[in-house]
Each structure stands twice: as C-alpha cells, then as structure tokens.
Symmetry: C2
Subunit: 141 residues, 2 copies
DNA sequence: ATTCTTGCAAAAGGTTTGCACGCCT
DNA sequence: AGGCGTGCAAACCTTTTGCAAGAAT
C-alpha cells in the first residue's frame, strides 16, 4: 500500500501527499506532467504550491511510487505505479494516448548493437510517436 | 556547398554564420550543444552573442545544414551534415563519445508494434546510453 | 518539542524576443 | 535608403532553492 511506502521512507502522511497520490491513481490515466497534476489540484481547490508538487514527486520517485519518464522534450513526466518492469512508450501525437510495451527482439538488438561497437549497454530511451488509426479525433497536442 | 544553401535560403554570408559553420565542420566531432558552440566562439575570441548562436542554428536547421537531435534532456543538440539518412544514437555516459547507427530489424519491429496497437508510426526517438569498453578513461559526463 | 512540510518568492538554467545600432548592397 | 543581421538586455518557462511559518508525531 502506498502509505506504507511513505512511512518506510520516513515521509509523513500529509494533505498534499495524499491529494497527489489520489490524482495519480484515479482514473485510467497513468502518466502525468507536473503541470497536469498542479492544474488538477487547482481544479480541486486544493491550495498546494507548485514547488510542493515538484518536491513530492521527487520524494515519490525516491520511494518508487512513481518513475520519471522522458516523453516530451519540454516537461517532466511521471508515471504512476510501483516497481514496474521495464517498458517503452508509444504516444499518439494527436490525442496523447500512451501505450506501454516491451519488445524482446528490440531489446536484444540493442544489446547486440552496443556490443558490436565495443560498448556496454546501460540503459536506453525509446519513444514511438504515432497516430491512432481509429477513433482519434482530437486535435494535435 | 554550405554557402549555396545559405544563399538559397535567402541568408546572407556573415561572419557569425561562417564561424559557426566552420566550428560545425572542423574536427571529427559532429554533435554540438548550443553552449559548446558558444564556448568555442569565445575561445576564438569571436564576439558572437549567445542569442545569435541560437538564431543561426535555427536558420541552419531550416535550410538543412544541421538537424536538431534530442540527446540529453537538458540542452538542445545539433548535428552537422546535410540531408542525412535516418539514424539513431549511442552515447558513452563516461566520455560522451557518440556513435550513429541504424538497425533495420529494430526499425521493422517498431512498425510492427505500432500496427499491432492500431497506431501508425510517424517517427521515433531512440538513444542507447552505454559505456565504452576499452580505453575510455574519462570521468562521467 | 522536535523534526518534517509547505507556500511563497526568488533564483537558476536554457531559450526566445524586443530593440536599436550596424553592415551590406 | 532599405533591409537584413547582430549584440545586449529583458522576458520566458520549467524547475530548484531559501526561508519563515505551520503541521505531524
């Protein structure tokens, strides 16, 4: 349970932390920019400062309640969920829909390519930018 | 020839543009952050403003003399060379050495994965972070 | 009581823009 | 003269930090 993680990490159960946890887990959305969370807090009329959102997310990251993912070039994005297995992301450039996937063949090739050049692969970063084929009528993000 | 591109794009041949072009093509290095170029200009005692570096690189990008690549999360990076074929990057996290590569198997898998989820792949972003195996004694970047 | 948290404002770091001066034709 | 190009400073945007006041145990 999330609250256990907080306690174990020596973090107190506070209103801002609970509200942010709630946002992270409500609905089917799992990826949030800092500003998305901040705007949601404003919508809920919670008086939580932007600096607090940044601080809390960094703390959550440290105790594995969220992980930081680089989906866009300009804003930090956090992904809800604990101890997730490795995966990459596919994003619809029109509606923003995100799909997580992991492809063994690609993972294997990456290792081989690194080895071929005398490198040892430490991590990788891969995002596929796509368009949903059906039913995505939203405007470009 | 580079100067032709400039003229065709309606850009005048000026000292800052020539100096930046020269930096882009001298040596074997092909990837530069804005600041690397700016620092090199300072080292050469060229009085070129940082804003100019940004503006010139944006213009060079528009006429295909450089392309913008997202290698680090915090700083824009530009790659010298015109009309390059698609490729991805592998970076040594210790010495910063960059290798460009393109793997058909990965490219093909990316298409397939997109299709599998009902997406149409438009572009992708992939960077492998590695360690050189031999002879890389530099400190972490 | 003590330690942790927070909101606010200011600072930081990278990038862009406004503006007046300068250069070239 | 006219327009493009430039340096400088100021503005911008996201993120971080300092600090004094407030909460949690």
């Amino acid at each position: 349970m999330d609250l256990e993680n907080l306690k174990q990490a020596g973090l107190k159960i506070t209103v801002p932390r609970l509200k942010i946890l709630h946002i992270l887990h409500s609905g089917c959305k799992r990826h949030f920019t800092v500003d998305e969370i901040y705007q949601e807090l404003i919508k809920q009329k919670a008086s939580v400062g932007l600096a607090t959102v940044y601080r809390v997310l960094a703390q959550f990251e440290a105790c594995n309640l969220v992980s930081r993912v680089q989906l866009y070039n300009d804003q930090a994005t956090f992904e809800a969920g604990q101890d997730r297995d490795h995966h990459d992301h596919m994003i619809c450039i029109k509606c923003g829909k995100i799909v997580e996937f992991c492809d063994d063949i690609i993972e294997e090739r990456q290792e081989k390519i690194a080895k071929k050049y005398g490198f040892k692969l430490k991590k990788h970063h891969m995002v596929l930018f796509c368009k949903c084929q059906n039913g995505c009528k939203n405007k470009e993000k």
